[in-house]
Symmetry: C2
DNA sequence: CTGTATCCTGCGTGATACTG
DNA sequence: CAGTATCACGCAGGATACAG
């Protein structure tokens, strides 16, 4: 729990700043926002398997629009998690690779995914229990 | 890297299902969505410090509306991450506690937050570099 | 093949007022 | 104190057409 404690403390400090109405830009919030967006982590995981081209990625993740594919890749590139390599062929070839920074994200991400996978039965059970609870709507 | 590999494999399987146009409900996607929402993780971290009442939480996280505070707590309760304890006083007292399931999320969350904190300088630098790059807008 | 440019919609969220 | 009920809105994200 000692490793969690640091994180918690950082959050507390951040919240205290907010309470004092200070702008308080928070690195964690920033990263959480990225984690949170619909496609970024999916993309990182996909590129963890191997470097891939634009259309390969599109095939790998079929339910993303080209618009979002482009935008997500651009954001990841901007943050230094992914690198973009253009080959001057006709038609053009563009390959996306996971940068070292992106690689380093894999470990903590995997920890979270393992948690999700292991705990999902419990979460699901809790949901069923909650939804079946008497006095469902009235509070 | 062996621990990441399992997670990656699970994602690949998930994507393959999607590619075959199967419904493919994914536990990971489910959990990522929760991580992604604006307040859930903030709340879990806050409750990790200590159990708190509704208004204490509101003071601790000043920039959340009562509406979202209620909703987030309800969702967390539904998922079994948080428990809700009502005391029949006047006026009513309600205390929210982190359930065991919620506690178990702390470790992987902390790993991610540590990553965010440690890597933020690199990310920030990458952004500056990207934004200052020549041929900024034209692609 | 690898994108961009528009247009459009829904949903997550905030603001405000009300209640037991 | 601990919520609910309503309204209102921005913007993330989808669909489609076009371009180098």
């Amino acid at each position: 729990m000692s490793t969690s404690q640091n994180a918690i403390d950082r959050f507390s400090r951040y919240h205290r700043q907010l309470a004092d109405a200070q702008p308080a830009h928070c690195a964690v919030r920033d990263v959480l926002d990225r984690i949170g967006d619909k496609w970024s982590m999916l993309m990182v995981m996909e590129l963890a398997t191997r470097s891939q081209r634009f259309s390969e990625l599109h095939r790998a993740i079929p339910d993303i629009s080209k618009r979002m594919l482009t935008q997500t890749l651009r954001d990841l590139e901007r943050d230094g998690l992914v690198t973009r390599h253009v080959f001057s062929t006709r038609p053009p070839t563009v390959e996306y690779r996971l940068a070292a920074l992106g690689q380093s994200l894999l470990e903590p991400m995997a920890a979270l995914i393992d948690w999700a996978d292991r705990r999902y039965p419990e979460i699901h059970a809790a949901r069923v229990r909650f939804d079946d609870a008497p006095g469902d709507v009235p509070r």
